[in-house]
Symmetry: C2
Subunit: 472 residues, 2 copies
């Protein structure tokens, strides 16, 4: 068979199911129940109380820190207090990174402090050197090897403010790729304008890693006012900076994914997954990142769980509080690895991890036979001001590894206009959450989860077999 | 003479001048010149460049710190670069307070850091104690002596946001009076919700002093999110905090008021005073407090100074960059003391020390014979969006000691809606200033100073004789 004929045959296979498949549908009773859940959620304060409790009683909870273990105990107790039918933990092991102290100063004729924070994964060390400013990451990447010998590279790129949060793509790229580019050019330290949109003296941390084979150098982010200041000083003439970081990798740590379930009415072994991540960075109290996601998903499950058993959805609602998302999706990857053999029993999943701003759009990428059911869910969400938009992306960070092995994902897109004002900074605190916006999120998650869990038919996860085990 | 008759006679004396006094008037040529100055100032960038230079090249410049001396040298050089006719300094001596380090942590079951800053004037020391929260200052003031033995008092009062900035009255009162009340009740430490209106993790510093005879205790302000957090934790149960401050008074320091003059056309020994304060707190770069005031007043004088000599106002424009306003108006008081014998040669004064927000109202409290001239000035300011409002208060902090001994003051009231978001915090940085708003301030100060300096007649300063020298 020629290649073109083969391609035509394959296209036919893909577009025309071999078996005429029944469309996935959601029954009227489920629509009625989800509508009531949605409206009740708008007046319910559970998510607020959960988020308040986590951010107050545990506070900052960086993965591997003493507060990580307190957060796990808190989550177990909270699931139980909220009446979940089953509560358990699953281990998640990762390298531990510690931040002990950090400071920076301009030296010379204009001495003054700079507000910096070490990027997660930075080695410790103190460097005093002239700063070389780059207006783009590409400019640093084009620097000749050795050209920054004995210098500190400073990448001064402003990420844009966007309602979708997509401006973070640029900011996180500067954080992820910049340090390695600096090492390749010979730099002994790396500074960047924070991946953030606010003009407060709060630098934004976040994980970064060096390419294999490179010798790590101290790396830190400047607050936006400090990046402005350093750019002005560098424009006046050669500017030396002292960067002193005491931090670094220190062994391994085993935390836990904490999981709570509301058992399904008739298909208890099939699950709809919702969740957020339990860890936070250490600088703030992790309210928008991701206390809100924990509060929203725990509250959504709780509202479904308090229904009479006969009115529960057919499938189980599984709420996952993921361990260590911040340093590399360790919780999500561990869950996917542990559950890959049963991934086809995961009906669909959604993670809340973009703060507590209003949800404005919904979609799920599913086969044609399930599109009507997605539209049915969208209809229930519409009164919340949520549009059914085909371009809405699914999958939060921790559920993306499930999606990669076959689970369908729903996207509940939040207004992230202000999210990157606070993200990964000391300013990520409870006061940044609007209780009414938080409740709108719960309403959407509760209705979505209920409807997906009660659908007659699936959303496509069963289409893909789990990957074969690796060959020996 | 009976008392009532005496009072009636005195009232007659006050309301009816013994000599029929010519009303103070401003000539048409001056109105034309000031109108041109006003409009030119709106397009001029001098104030921005001055403020940028001070906040970038000197940066934070707390009174008595090494940066204080750098600021003095900067101001002398800047006056000269701006073409001022005379530039000189006058010494200002004050006790020196130093901030070296500061931290606070919640202890016990919910351990976490709190963002605090020592209040200026705090002694150093480390205390670990239970926190007792007071919702009002009055509640603390009512606490029985000894009732806070071994405790940390926490006054949790939110100052209101107001366009005029008057909410700061409450905030600064809690800062000024709270520590002494805490000592009287036996407390070993003092914490307060910052006198601020923002919800960022930046506590607001500011001076405080203990009443004579009381033993000072460590005193610090919490950022608003941290005050919220501590209030929530205290509501959960007894909450212990460790407050560790390394700071304190350390000898004396002599700084300088830096003064620049644009010599008057025909009455060079009579002066109109404008200015701001050169010192800042150490946490930010002192952009709105008070780099803006320095920029506005230096630029206003500069714009007048670059006029042809024949078009200058009759009197001299004296621009004063005051030393150490923050810790007790030391610069203003030193100037008043040094110049009290010549206070009648001070036509009128105005200080810019409420940031760089737009000026929305103008007035000067003057005798009846000078009110028409004030109205003439108001007419020139009106196109800037500045209302002539009788209730507008005059005198900035540093010029108030001049007013006390007889100098008239003008009030150019600024929109302070956002001022207390940044005031006395690390967030007081250049990016908080809108160049167009800054230029509107310069336009108002330049027009006001020109018109006042060219008025035919005075604004009442000559009515009061300087106080008699103290008796030996």
């Amino acid at each position: 068979m020629r290649a073109t004929a083969l391609a035509a045959a394959l296209a036919l296979l893909v577009s025309t199911p071999l078996l005429a498949r029944q469309p996935t549908r959601i029954g009227d009773a489920a629509i009625t129940q989800a509508t009531q859940l949605r409206d009740a959620a708008l007046a319910d304060k559970t998510a607020w109380h959960v988020t308040e409790s986590l951010t107050t009683e545990v506070g900052p909870r960086m993965a591997g820190s003493p507060a990580d273990a307190r957060a796990v105990e808190w989550a177990k107790a909270m699931f139980k207090a909220l009446g979940y039918d089953k509560v358990w933990t699953e281990p998640v092991t990762f390298p531990k990174w510690e931040r002990r102290s950090e400071s920076a100063q301009v030296l010379g004729a204009h001495p003054q402090p700079l507000h910096v924070t070490a990027l997660g994964g930075s080695p410790g060390g103190t460097v005093e050197a002239e700063v070389v400013r780059f207006a783009t990451l590409e400019a640093l990447e084009s620097a000749a090897p050795g050209s920054l010998a004995g210098k500190i590279a400073f990448v001064d790129v402003q990420m844009p403010r966007t309602p979708t949060g997509e401006g973070y793509g640029l900011g996180s790229h500067v954080r992820g790729a910049g340090p390695s580019a600096a090492v390749k050019a010979g730099a002994i330290g790396y500074l960047m304008r924070s991946a953030g949109t606010d003009f407060h003296r709060n630098p934004h941390t976040g994980i970064s890693r060096f390419q294999p084979g490179l010798t790590p150098i101290p790396m830190a982010a400047l607050s936006l006012p400090d990046a402005d200041q350093l750019a002005r000083l560098a424009a006046l003439g050669p500017t030396r900076v002292k960067l002193a970081l005491d931090c670094g990798w220190n062994g391994e740590y085993t935390s836990q994914n904490v999981i709570g379930e509301i058992t399904g009415r008739s298909k208890p072994d099939d699950v709809v997954v919702i969740g957020g991540h339990l860890d936070s960075w250490d600088l703030g109290t992790g309210a928008i990142d991701d206390g809100a996601g924990i509060g929203i998903s725990m509250a959504a499950g709780h509202l479904i769980g308090r229904l009479p058993k006969a009115q529960r959805p057919a499938r189980t609602i599984r709420v996952i509080a993921f361990a260590n998302e911040e340093q590399g999706l360790f919780g999500g990857r561990a869950y996917a690895e542990a559950h890959k053999a049963r991934i086809t029993r995961h009906q669909i999943g959604a993670e809340s991890d973009l703060g507590a701003g209003r949800i404005y759009a919904f979609n799920a990428k599913v086969p044609d036979y399930a599109k009507d059911a997605v539209a049915q869910i969208a209809q229930v969400l519409a009164p919340l001001g949520i549009a059914h938009r085909e371009d809405t992306e699914g999958c939060g960070p921790d559920t993306s590894p499930f999606n990669a092995i076959g689970m369908a994902c729903a996207g509940l897109a939040q207004d992230a206009s202000k999210y990157f004002d606070y993200h990964h900074t000391p300013d990520d605190t409870l006061d940044k959450i609007d209780p009414a916006e938080l409740a709108q999120n719960v309403a959407a998650y509760a209705a979505f989860a209920y409807l997906a869990a009660d659908a007659q038919g699936d959303f496509g996860s069963a289409l893909k077999a789990p990957p074969a085990p690796p060959k020996k």
